[in-house]
Amino acid sequence: MTQLTNYKATKIRCRQWQDDYVIYDQLSGDTHVLDVVSGELICALSKQTMSRAKLLALLTELYVDVTESEIESYLFDFIEKFELLGLLISE
């Protein structure tokens, strides 16, 4: 993952109720329940392509009282997990 990589969500539908996000993957037909942070990230990515820097900035807004390295670690896990699920593609 380089600094120049951009990310975007594949075709998904998002619904949110309070702290829960439910997303529908229109390609595979899978339905996922996500926590609020993952949900915010993936729904933001479904609306626009985002660079790593932008994603870090968004995470910093969502996650208060955490260190920079914890945020980086979260993003790394998020990208790995959602690419594996087929919900995220890098370009």
Binding site: Q26, L27, S28, G29
Partner: protein, 353 residues
């Protein structure tokens, strides 16, 4: 034999404007049994025809089914592309998945459940291994069935994906090795064309028609016969817009030794669905065949498998064609024990048909 209501409507959709409710009822039922209900829905939509509410709901229900399968098919093809990306072959799609990727009219409203691909015989093992590593597994563990496919047929046993439960048929030819006139698969692969903006390939138009023809006219079960004939009709109408299509088709049939299936395809598509085929082409495709007998069989078996389309000879016609298909696929010394085994397994409930 009387032309079914479904055929009449496919030839002239505007007829439905005169229909009463029982006629709509029969039309829907014939289309459902022929597995072309969604395709009929597309046709009626394309003609912007008014449809009674109940009939419309059945048509819509079938369209939803077909639409979902198309989305699933597109996804499945990308999964297969990923699984086979390290193997030095072109991903050549066959049948429905080919029509779908190539945007052929035959794909509209059609439900394609399995994906069929054609690979060079020498790459079969590599392909099978790559697919297995990506989550596909053979369904067929019976040693006899494994032998049937690997020794005699033109495909390995069907593979099913563990998670998605989708099937893929990997072919190395379009007809079994045991067939008298087995085409040269290498020629088919050489003629394949790339689908624009994709990593997939499809057979050349004339090969797509010939494959459809060989498949249908070597077939033993005709429950989908009308639908498959309609695919042929769609392909022929679409490709005939190219000036050189007909001569190419006739020549290619000779090259691949599939003149007989082509003759049947043109004859029955023309007679049952009134596919516009030049008289000279019909004449050039003629073979030395007892058409009286074959007409008696195919003109029955290729109609929708519905009571309203069958007559007292239909069942016999289908049975005879079933035996014929096995006779074509394999010599008698293989066919007889094979059919006996199939019958035994059907009786003890291990086979569905």
């Amino acid at each position: 034999m009387k032309r079914p209501l479904l055929s009449c409507v496919m030839l002239n959709p505007k007829q439905v404007l005169e229909f009463n409710l029982p006629q709509w009822d029969l039309l829907i039922r014939q289309a459902r049994r022929a597995n072309v209900l969604a395709s009929l829905a597309e046709l009626l939509d394309a003609n912007a025809l008014e449809i009674p509410e109940r009939a419309r709901l059945h048509l819509k229900s079938a369209q939803i089914h077909a639409d979902r399968f198309n989305i699933a098919l597109a996804f499945e093809i990308t999964c297969i592309e990923k699984a086979l990306k390290d193997i030095p072959i072109a991903l050549v799609l066959l049948k429905g998945s080919a029509y779908f990727m190539a945007g052929n009219n035959a794909a509209k409203g059609r439900v394609f459940s399995d994906v069929d691909i054609l690979v060079p015989e020498q790459q079969l093992m590599a392909v099978e291994m790559a697919l297995t590593n990506a989550g596909w597994m053979t369904n067929t563990l019976d040693p006899y069935d494994q032998k049937y496919y690997r020794l005699w047929m033109h495909e390995i046993p069907p593979l099913r994906h563990l998670k998605r439960q989708t099937s893929i048929d990997v072919h190395h030819n379009i007809l079994p090795k045991t067939t008298c006139i087995c085409p040269d698969a290498h020629k088919l692969l050489l003629g394949a064309i790339k689908v624009p903006e994709s990593n997939c390939w499809v057979l050349a138009p004339e090969d797509r028609v010939l494959h459809s023809a060989t498949h249908l006219f070597h077939e033993g079960e005709f429950s989908q016969g009308f639908r498959d004939l309609r695919d042929l009709d769609h392909l022929l109408r679409e490709f005939a817009t190219s000036d050189d299509f007909w001569p190419k088709l006739l020549l290619r049939a000779i090259e691949l030794q599939q003149q007989i299936p082509l003759f049947y395809a043109l004859r029955y598509s023309h007679q049952i669905l009134q596919t516009p085929i030049p008289e000279s082409v019909l004449e050039a495709s003629k073979q030395r065949i007892n058409t009286t007998l074959m007409d008696a069989l195919f003109l029955r078996a290729l109609l929708p498998d519905h009571d309203s389309c069958n007559d007292k000879w239909t069942r016999l016609a289908r049975s005879l064609l079933f035996i014929r298909s096995h006779y074509l696929k394999m010599p008698i010394y293989l066919m007889v024990p094979h059919l006996l085994r199939k019958t035994y397994r059907r009786v003890i409930g291990k086979e569905l048909h």
